[in-house]
């Protein structure tokens, strides 16, 4: 029996060791994450006893502040609906969203040793204040972008392509976070069109012709001389018995013209010529199919599916079929072309300061990915400049400033095409990159281009 007891002891030790390891995981490793879970009622107590940090825009304008109402602080948002989907809301009844939710650890002063210090302060009944956030958002540009969308559904993203700073991230419809309680039932009614959804980061749309940027990259990487070739568009091609068409036969076109007039047949042919593997690889370089870190939850964009036949490839090449993208993703794509192939990691929070104003964290711009070679990016840029000068994107042109752009009109099952425009300016030395989508707006050159033009003009005037 001694042997049996020894084995039983051994089994007991194993069981208890597993429990100890598991406890270490729960309390030690993911403990803080569990603590910060929005279902934790302890946070509501902390919330009551803490003055939340202030949220500023890039120029120090206040986006979220605490105002004394009666004997308690209430959160106020001076820029109202325009920043609602970035900054988020805070409510006793409905919890929190946006950066208010994602950065509550900082805003409530719960990071690392600060949490211990603030707990002690609370115990001794001293006032506790959270950390302040300074965003990369330009409040005025954000408001302008929101106003330009107006009643239409859609999104506007403006980036500084040199750093990845997000200057504007507008989405429509939206809501007034100062009147959340009154508006809640309307916000959640089907007619409202999901105003809590940040379309810039959570909206997944077919890309339409702006996807031709990726197809062009793929083709130029394989054969840079393609820019000098002539292509022929008869108005359609037939693949496995199915037709893919252009609005009209473009006839003889060179590479720039194919881009300027957004010729479907030419780009479908290019994708078929260089194959699905190359297309997938190029799209992956641009960040499609990848989880990209961001300060707000960001949906994954996709360019392909697992099963890709020739029809699906041709459709992907012109941004239809399996293609689903977020506006932020497309702003990153156009930003990387502005930077000759270097895609910067996008971010929203510029720095964090403690209540005394001391800097405790600062964002550092860093490249996310090299998406393509410089010579390839240059060729595409030339074609995009031509598109603004005499192609589909003339409505995005600015006086005395060279703009590069590409339009898109994405077919979708919900009515008129979604109007897209992606652009950057000034073309020689880019300072701003934008992506605009107007849901069911029709032609990108008509509905989206004027919005992009005004956003770029305002940004460059700063």
């Amino acid at each position: 029996m001694k042997k049996e007891i020894r084995r039983l002891t051994f089994v007991t030790i194993i069981f208890f060791s597993i429990l100890i390891i598991y406890l270490t995981y729960i309390q030690g490793i993911i403990g803080n994450k569990l603590y910060l879970n929005s279902l934790n009622p302890r946070l509501a107590l902390v919330e009551q006893e803490t003055k939340r940090g202030i949220i500023y825009d890039r120029n120090g304008k206040v986006l979220a502040d605490n105002v004394l109402v009666g004997d308690r602080f209430e959160r106020q948002y001076p820029y109202g609906p325009s920043t609602a989907l970035v900054v988020g809301y805070l409510s006793d009844r409905f919890g929190s969203s946006g950066l208010e939710a994602n950065y509550k650890e900082e805003l409530l002063g719960l990071t690392g040793w600060q949490r211990v210090r603030n707990t002690l302060r609370r115990l001794t009944e001293k006032p506790v204040q959270g950390n302040n956030l300074a965003l990369t958002i330009d409040a005025d540009l954000q408001r302008l972008s929101t106003n330009l969308l107006g009643e239409r559904r859609g999104a506007v993203v403006a980036l500084d392509p040199r750093t990845g700073e997000v200057l504007a991230l507008a989405s429509s419809p939206n809501f007034d976070p100062n009147k959340l309680e009154q508006e809640w039932s309307w916000i959640n009614s089907p007619k409202a069109g999901s105003p809590l959804l940040n379309r810039a980061t959570q909206g997944l749309y077919p890309a339409g012709s702006i996807m031709k940027i990726i197809t062009a990259t793929m083709a130029l990487e394989e054969d840079l001389n393609i820019s000098d070739y002539e292509f022929y568009c008869s108005g359609f091609i037939e693949i496995n018995g199915r037709r893919l068409t252009c609005p009209r036969p473009h006839g003889e076109v060179n590479f720039n013209e194919a881009m300027m007039y957004s010729c479907n047949v030419t780009f479908a042919n290019l994708a078929l010529k260089f194959g699905v593997d190359k297309f997938k690889e190029t799209a992956e370089h641009y960040g499609f199919g990848k989880k990209i870190e961001f300060d707000l939850p960001l949906k994954k964009s996709q360019a392909t599916t697992n099963k890709m036949n020739a029809n699906a490839l041709a459709e992907s090449a012109i941004g239809q079929g399996p293609v689903l993208v977020t506006p932020l993703q497309m702003a990153m794509v156009v930003g990387s072309l502005a930077m000759d192939g270097v895609m910067m990691q996008p971010y929203l929070v510029k720095n964090i300061t403690n209540p005394e104003g001391k800097l405790i964290w600062k964002a550092r711009p860093r490249p996310y990915q090299i998406v393509t070679r410089k010579d390839v990016a240059q060729k595409i840029k030339e074609a995009m400049i031509a598109t603004v000068n005499e192609g589909t994107a003339t409505a995005a042109a600015l006086p005395n400033i060279k703009v590069a752009a590409k339009t898109g009109s994405a077919q979708n099952p919900h009515g008129k095409a979604h109007a897209w425009l992606i652009a950057f300016a000034p073309a020689e030395d880019p300072e701003i990159a934008v992506a605009v989508i107007v849901e069911n707006g029709g032609s990108g050159g008509v509905a989206a281009a004027p919005i992009a033009r005004q956003v770029m003009a305002a940004a460059l005037r700063r």
């Binding site: 049996e4 597993i18 729960i26 707990t119």
Partner: protein, 402 residues
């Protein structure tokens, strides 16, 4: 026995905590409570010295440490419960004294295995028929204003029965499953487990099964009996999963409590958040927020300890139970005759696996089954029986030295 200093220090610290932060309770003086408990624990020591009891020197201090910690956390959760638990503790101590004084020759237990079996099954049957349902399980007997959980004592009876029967029929059992001696053994265990399942006391059923398998292994030395038992259990669980909706609900909650975080998953979700909020060092005694968890003083008291003492504290508790197991099995190693080995092995497995099942249950390592944390959780039946088992363990351990 200098180790009794630790629970004493814990109790004294608890006393000062109550003095400083506690809300006073009518009719009770914390100082009297402290004196009572201290004299209780040191009293056992004294009694054991006087009667020249040569039992194990470590088991009692470990149990006393657990009970003292449990009392402090109970006080912090609900002073009323803590004061009642003090009475149970004193009762447990008295039972321990009675057992160590009058049952020193534990062989007397082995004479009537079937008596214990009959008593055990009978009380389970009564509970199934006339029991009261409290918190999901119909496992309580109510006599006037007095309530008890017969299952606690049934577990003890079953271990005594199994030790006796297995010891007597060992030689025959080893020869194979076809032998008729297996009949009563399997039948008795199955009936007991089924009666527990009918009460919806799945935790106790599981503990009984684990204890049975452990003792069977000790007696026969054949691991394939255990494997067969495990397979049968798995099949039984599978059938039960299909047949009983409440069991299915339990398993689904275990797999994903977050899906219904406000309803059926609430308890386990809040338990995990509570443990996470404690972090590594804990919030400190009384500064946690675990009162929102239903059954926090009984099944979930480990979570309160985890929040307020942190990871270091919760691992400490786990280690005390592990040491208890190691000590119990060490006694079993040294006992010269087989009945004592089976008894010690069975009781040690009973206590430590009950602790394991509930600690793993509230942390979502295993599906949650509501059982108490031995020596710690609030509950008279559980606490008194835990001390009874401790007394029996001490008695067996004494035979090693005699």
């Amino acid at each position: 026995m200098a180790l009794l200093l630790w629970p004493s220090l814990i109790l004294i610290a608890g006393y000062f905590y109550i003095k400083i932060f506690g809300n006073h309770h009518e009719g009770w003086q914390p100082f009297y409570a402290l004196t009572l408990l201290l004299s209780g624990f040191w009293g056992i020591h004294l009694v054991l010295k006087v009667i020249d009891h040569k039992g194990d020197q470590l088991l009692l201090p470990m149990a006393a440490t657990l009970t003292s910690l449990g009392l402090i956390f109970l006080f912090r959760l609900d002073p009323d419960l803590a004061y009642r638990q003090i009475i149970w503790t004193i009762l447990g101590i008295l039972v321990l004294v009675v057992v160590t004084v009058s049952l020193r020759d534990y062989h007397r237990l082995g004479r009537f295995p079937h008596l214990f079996l009959s008593l055990g099954l009978l009380s389970l049957l009564i509970t199934v028929i006339a029991g009261t349902r409290i918190g999901g399980a119909k496992s309580w007997l109510t006599l006037g204003s007095f309530q008890m959980q017969p299952v606690e004592v049934v577990k003890v009876f079953m271990v005594i029965y199994l030790a006796g029967y297995l010891n007597e029929k060992r030689e025959l059992l080893v020869q194979g499953v076809g032998r008729p001696v297996w009949g009563p053994l399997i039948a008795a265990t199955t009936v007991a487990i089924l009666l527990l399942v009918m009460q919806r006391d799945l935790g106790s059923a599981l503990i009984l099964l684990v204890t049975f398998l452990a003792m069977l292994y000790l007696a026969t030395g054949k691991w394939h009996f255990i494997a067969a038992g495990g397979v049968l259990f798995f099949l039984g669980a599978l059938i039960a999963y299909i047949v009983f909706p409440y069991l299915r609900a339990r398993i689904d909650i275990w797999l994903n409590p977050w899906e219904d975080y406000a309803g059926s998953g609430y308890q386990i979700v809040q338990s995990l958040i509570t443990l996470g909020s404690g972090g590594i060092f804990g919030t400190g005694l009384g500064l946690g927020y675990s009162l929102i968890i239903p059954a926090v003083a009984t099944d979930f008291i480990f979570v309160t300890m985890g929040e307020e003492m942190g990871l270091l504290g919760s691992i400490g508790i786990v280690i005390i139970y592990l040491l208890f197991a190691l000590r119990g099995f060490k006694v079993a190693m040294k006992v010269k005759e087989e009945y004592g080995v089976l008894l010690t092995g069975g009781f040690t497995a009973l206590i430590t696996f009950q602790a394991f099942i509930i600690m793993a249950g509230v942390t979502k390592l295993l599906p949650l089954t509501g059982v108490t944390l031995p020596f710690v959780s609030y509950g008279g039946s559980s606490l008194v029986i835990s001390y009874l088992i401790l007394g029996l363990l001490l008695n067996v351990s004494e035979s090693v030295r005699r």
